[in-house]
Every structure is written in C-alpha cells, then in structure tokens.
Symmetry: C2
Subunit: 148 residues, 2 copies
Amino acid sequence: MEPEILELESFLPYRLYRLADTVSREFSRIYKERHGLTRPEWRTLSGLGQRGTMTATELGEQSAMHKTKVSRAVAELERRRWLTRTPDEKDRRVEHLALTKAGLAAYREMVPLAKAFERELLARLSVEERVAIARGVAALEKALEEKS
Amino acid sequence: MEPEILELESFLPYRLYRLADTVSREFSRIYKERHGLTRPEWRTLSGLGQRGTMTATELGEQSAMHKTKVSRAVAELERRRWLTRTPDEKDRRVEHLALTKAGLAAYREMVPLAKAFERELLARLSVEERVAIARGVAALEKALEEKS
DNA sequence: TTTCGATGGTTACAAATGAAACCAGTTTGG
DNA sequence: CCAAACTGGTTTCATTTGTAACCATCGAAA
C-alpha cells in the first residue's frame, strides 16, 4: 500500500484560508490607506455603524473578535474621538458604545466603498457561481455552528 | 435618502474570513496538539511531503506564504531534524529542501488526520451543498488569480 | 571584465495577536 | 449578610507576523 499524500492545493481548509486571506488583504487596503484602520478597528466601526449602540461583549459576538481585540480597537477609536462610552445604569461593569459624528462620518464614507468592493468581486463570477458560493458558504457556516 | 448600512453578517469578505478562521483554528488543533507545529510549519511539512523536494521560494508559492514565514518554518523544522538542506550545484543562493525520515514519519502520520478532518467537515453538508462550496471556491480562486 | 539590477534567503524591528492573569462589580447559595 | 463563583472589560507578557533592510550570489549589458 503506497503512502498517502495530501494535496494541499485541493485541501478545503487551506483553500478557504488562502481565499479569505487574499480577499481580506485586498479589502483591507481600503480602510488602511484611507484611515489607517486595522481590521479589528474596521469591524468595530462597522458594527457600531450598523447597530447604533453595543457593549463590548456584543461587539465581540457580532464580529467574531476576541475580547482583547475588541478592547484595543475600542480604545483606539475612542482616542480618535470616533466613539464614546456611556456607563450602564444598572450594571456598572458595562459600557454602551456609540459612534460620534466623526465616527459616523467615517462609517458613511466607508460603506459605499465596501459595497463596491464586494460587488466588483462578485461581478467576476457567473450567476450560477454566485449562487454556488452563497449556498456553500451558508452551508458551512451552519455546519460549524451546529457541531462545535 | 437614508444612510446606507452595511450588514457585516452578510458581507462576503467578512464571512469568508470568519469561516476560514474557524475551520483553520479547529484544524490547527490537530497539528498543534500533536506536534506543537505552527501553521507555517505544518504547511512546510505538508508541501515537502507532497512534492518531495522544493526550494524555499517554490514552497512559498505552493503554500501561499511570505518568504519570511517560509524561512522561519524551515529553520524550525531543520532544528527538529525533520528536514535537510542541500545546496544547489549551479546556483549557490538556492537550497533544496527535503524531509528526513523523522519528518516523513510525522507527515505520514498527519495525512490521514487531515483527510479525516476534511471528510468530517464535508459530511455535515448535503451533496448539493458540497458541490456548491467546491464550485464557488474554485470560481473565486479563479477570479482572484485573473484580476490581481 | 566591471558594474548594476534582480533574485534567494535571512535578520532586525515594530506592530498585531492570544493566553492568562487581573480588577471591578454582580450574582448565587448558604 | 457574606463568601465564592462568575462576568465585563483591561492589561501584561510571550509569540507571531509583516515590512524593510540586508547579505550573498547571479545574469545581463557596457
């Protein structure tokens, strides 16, 4: 029996990672060049822009970030005066985060760029391919949620 | 006209990244727990196991790693005596890398685990979903190759 | 030849990350 | 009421990463 070989180029975890890495790296140029944001900072901005107000914990859940990443991103955005913290009345450990005018302005500027990026990426696929990626990604997401 | 909002949860770059991150993190437990390997080290092992002999540059291309990552991973595997370097006859800048017996043994041990991981992940999807993810990922890979 | 730009690979340094310890403050159970 | 367990969030420390500078060698052109 001959030794088994793994073909890295067709190994799903590798392919997914490389794909995500490439896409993410390319997209990051947008917020990096424009505002010098890191990915956690971008996600924080985006999360708060979308939902209006969240606590750090909620932010972490929504954008799949470890709490230390959230903590640092929030600190940096606060330093820029892009967000403010409001202590919770009932539970003094909790702070409610919200974007300031400046933060909201940055968010509003980024949204169309983000959408355009996604649109242009998907435009290179056929309709069936777009359906396939949407379906496949959704299926994997669901599978991972359930099992773990 | 109301302000545009970006829904992070449906934004493809974010979804891809989170997916890859989850899968990769879960898979990494296998080589991390078993041998204390980092991802670049695992990819190096895997690349050499698959191809037999490669230069550092080739390794970087095959496994999508920056050359510093390759350099460090190779150094570590060499330290473990899992690989050896053979200077190229014609070009003295180049070294040909190959796994030792020990390295090959580790590789052979890892391959079935990697395959099982992938199989179990895909087993949670329906046939159509498996087709969809394969097709979608391939399409995106192709789109990214061409454009950039 | 000699020089100069490219290439294979390593190293130094700064920034980003993760794990674990930590500090409040809160809840639970005795 | 009080101690113990828990939770929201921050900080510390070690590791990983990326960028850029670097060293050696090579190839092409003058």
